[in-house]
């Protein structure tokens, strides 16, 4: 029997999700043995034309990491959708937009204005900015278009499954690959990780008081964090209550609070809103002035509670005339 064809591709990503595959260490050899990898740009030489030459649906499963923010990435996503039986959004950026999705607080012009304009080392009296085409003495040079908005993968193409995390832990990769090979997949649209909150499996759970009541919020650099105690109970913002489990408590193990890279649990659409409501439910303040002080103490609540999920939130981006996504 022919081995199932598998593609691994990256859009607007940092390469961490490629490293996640390499960090399977010996297991990567087992994976490579069980499947036929037909696209993995970081390791194999396949051009777009090779993928185009495949029959529609010939690739059993494509793992796509990174959000989408250029015309080129959008084209690739559509191509792989057409050629693949299953599309798995791999990692926080494909799943939720990830940290690069914070760029949705701004526009492309804002980004250019900083990068090629007012930053302190830029010497650019002529106001040069990168152009889609530039005429040089020898010929024309082209650059792909950068969009105003970062899109999670499912805003561009139909996605079958999601594997969360920044980056995806090795055990979740192996579980997903095994499920695909055995054909034992949950209903379409599932996130391939436990649907309970990080708090449910947190080692610090026992330190929680019976009733959580907090009267102040502390920024992590301004307080000593007890390595045994629940961060929230101590007033340090931790996204644990609203965030899906399955990461192995990586940040907690380093004595740092969760920032939500696994996104929300199954029943939640808007990760940040869910967290803010969870937070509000444990704040025990009745005096309005004191409440104002507490709100003031966290100057960027939206950047914090939507750190990984701004692009997939109900708001999606700072409002402005939304560009049309070319199909």
């Amino acid at each position: 029997m022919a081995k199932p064809k598998v593609a691994i591709y990256w859009n607007a990503s940092c390469g961490g999700c490629e490293e996640a595959w390499v960090d399977l260490n010996e297991d990567i050899l087992a994976v490579a043995d069980a499947v036929d990898i037909v696209l993995w740009p970081v390791a194999l030489d396949f051009k777009k034309s090779h993928v185009e030459a495949l029959d529609d649906g010939e690739i059993a499963v494509s793992f796509l990491n990174g959000g989408v923010r250029t015309s080129e990435q959008e084209e690739w996503s559509h191509l792989l959708r057409r050629k693949s039986g299953l599309i798995i959004a791999f990692g926080a950026c494909a799943h939720l937009g990830g940290i690069p999705g914070l760029a949705n607080f701004y526009t492309k012009d804002d980004i250019f204005e900083a990068a090629y304009g007012y930053l302190p080392t830029v010497e650019n009296k002529e106001g040069t900015t990168p152009q889609l085409t530039t005429k040089m003495p020898e010929g024309e040079l082209e650059l792909p278009e950068i969009y105003d908005t970062v899109y999670p993968l499912d805003q561009i193409i139909d996605v079958d499954y999601y594997i969360p995390g920044c980056t995806v832990p090795a055990d979740l990769i192996m579980e997903a690959v095994t499920a695909v090979l055995k054909g034992e997949l949950p209903p379409k649209g599932s996130v391939l990780a436990p649907s309970k909150s990080l708090c449910d499996e947190c080692d610090r759970n026992d330190s929680k008081p019976d009733k959580m009541e907090i009267t102040e919020l502390k920024r992590p650099h301004l307080t000593f964090m007890d390595p045994e105690k629940c961060f929230l109970a101590e007033g340090v913002i931790c996204m644990g209550p609203a965030t899906r489990a399955g990461c192995g408590q990586r940040c907690i193990n380093a004595n740092m609070p969760c920032r939500g890279c696994f996104g929300p649990t199954d029943d939640v659409k808007d990760h940040g809103a869910k967290f803010l409501s969870a937070l509000a439910s444990i704040i025990e303040i009745n005096d309005p002035e004191e409440m104002d002080r507490l709100v003031e103490s966290i100057p960027d609540p939206s950047g914090l509670s939507y750190m990984y999920s701004l692009a997939s939130s109900l708001l999606a981006r700072k409002r402005f005339e939304r560009e049309t996504v070319k199909a």
Binding site: C14, D45, K47, A114, Y116, L119, T121, E123, L143, A254
Partner: protein
């Protein structure tokens, strides 16, 4: 109009790096351009964020070198919040940085750059990869490399929470200390890493230095640029990868500048071109003269060879011996030979491993005094560390609540962006004559930029094999007249 050659690193199909070479009517190289077709705008969207979150945000620039972004960001916060971390915290941070440099340099040698030499620049393309290295030096080496990488990366996992995108850095210290058990295990890892580095230098010596063809390639003219060099040095002008002053030397090796991180804007400026999203840093006090080398051009280089050129030596004994040996063979300092980056990388591999051991042997590292809580109002801060691929600069300004109002980042590979363009152009000129594109071009051009271990969108070199290239020769109608590829089409 002549022909046009597009070299599209297939690792960058979504667009992080692309090379365009234009030929004139005679078929000689008229010009070559290296383009970076992506921009994610981290500097802009940092604005509005709380400063203490920056060490968790900026590593996402690069999943291959997140550790150095994390540390540069954390150091920028020390400066911003006017807080000096306790010594044990500094030791832990430098340990994390040393572990990272060790595993990353090893990865480059065995998986990416090394195959050109160990297997051979003109070996069949399908063998010029990690498997070819293993075939040449022995089957057990593959397992040895994977095992060492795993153990060294474990140091970062334990201390940083995660090896990809660690989280332990805070202004004034680190979030987690070292246990006696971990220390014992890490010491063993460090000792083994020193042996591993010596072993790697041994392979380089046997396979490369004893082969006249390779030595001629290294010292030859095709891979040479007389530029300025930059790197962090300690108080004795020895290489330091975590802290110190930035030192710049001229193409003839004299000290040109030595400055504190906070003064970097007086020395570095960035040039903008309309045909690339990347910027081109240069020495402000020399000026931008275009993509040219020599003492009148502000183009400087960073990363291993540049760091060794910009220093007076290595601070650890075994690495110092290798440092001297390298310059003796290359005919003195500074060495302008781009391919010598590979050698310098191995000298630093040894240094980082030795440094890990030194740091772990320092009893202070076991202290639980790992944080100083900032008390002053945040204002502005700069943090510089040496990433595997060069000097990495993070610079932030905040309002009084610690909210970012300005973030400027000069990322390691960007420091070499102008030099990479020049190296590619020179290699192309050296090979393409009269319109003849031979297969050697592929690897020769590839070697010109692979020496820098480039990390453009930030992840070019994380997997067995090498950075494959496709060269397409097009006529003026844009039709492909010839296509060369390093890998057999599957």
């Amino acid at each position: 109009m002549g022909q046009r050659i597009t070299i599209d690193p297939i690792t960058r199909l979504e667009g992080h790096g692309k090379i365009e070479i234009f030929l004139d009517d005679k078929g000689d190289v008229a010009n070559a351009y290296f383009q970076v077709p992506e921009l994610r705008g981290f500097e802009k969207f940092a604005e509005g964020r709380m400063a203490e979150e920056m060490p968790r945000i900026t590593p996402k620039i690069c999943g291959v070198c997140p550790t150095t972004h994390h540390l540069a960001s954390t150091k920028a916060l020390d400066d911003l919040f006017h807080v000096d971390p306790p010594r044990p915290a500094k030791l832990i941070r430098e340990l994390i940085n040393s572990a990272f440099l060790t595993e990353d340099h090893a990865l480059h040698f065995y998986f990416l750059g090394g195959p050109d030499f160990v297997v051979g620049p003109d070996a069949p393309a399908g063998e010029r990869n990690i498997l070819g290295v293993v075939a040449k030096v022995g089957l057990e080496i593959g397992g040895y490399v994977i095992e060492m990488r795993k153990r060294i990366r474990n140091i970062i996992t334990v201390l940083g929470g995660r090896v990809i995108h660690p989280v332990c850095g805070l202004p004034g210290g680190v979030s987690k200390g070292l246990t006696a058990e971990d220390r014992e295990e890490f010491l063993k890892t460090a000792e083994d890493a020193i042996e591993f580095a010596k072993f790697s230098l041994g392979i380089f010596g046997d396979v490369v230095l004893k082969n006249d063809t390779y030595v001629n390639l290294i010292v030859g003219d095709v891979y040479k640029h007389q530029t300025y060099y930059m790197g962090l040095v300690d108080e004795n002008n020895k290489v330091n990868l975590y802290d110190g002053d930035v030192r710049v030397v001229t193409p003839t090796g004299e000290e040109f500048a030595k400055f504190k991180p906070q003064a970097y804007t007086e020395h570095i400026a960035e040039h903008v071109e309309p045909w690339s999203y990347i910027k081109y840093p240069y020495l402000k006090n020399v000026g931008w003269k275009g993509f040219v080398d020599g003492p009148d051009s502000g183009v400087y280089r960073v990363a291993p060879l540049a760091r060794l050129n910009a220093s007076d030596g290595m601070a650890t004994p075994l690495a110092q011996v290798e440092y001297e040996k390298m310059y003796e063979t290359l005919g003195g300092k500074p060495a302008h030979n781009t391919l010598a980056y590979h050698w310098a990388r191995l000298v630093e591999l040894l240094y980082s491993a030795e440094r890990m051991k030194e740091l772990l042997e320092d009893d202070d590292i076991m202290s639980d005094n790992i944080r100083t809580i900032p008390t002053e109002t945040p204002t502005e801060g700069v943090g510089i560390v040496e990433a595997p691929r060069g000097t990495l600069i993070h610079h932030y300004k905040t309002d009084e609540r610690g909210v970012i109002t300005m973030a400027n980042l000069i990322v390691a590979t960007v420091g070499n962006s102008a030099a990479i363009c020049m190296s590619i152009e020179r290699a192309a000129r050296g090979l393409i004559k009269g319109g003849n594109v031979n297969e050697g071009l592929l690897n020769m051009v590839e070697m010109a930029f692979r020496a820098y271990d480039p990390c453009f969108g930030c992840a070019t070199h994380s997997v067995p094999g090498e950075m494959p290239l496709v060269v397409e020769v097009k006529n003026q109608d844009g039709e492909v007249v010839e296509r060369l590829s390093q890998f057999v089409d599957g």
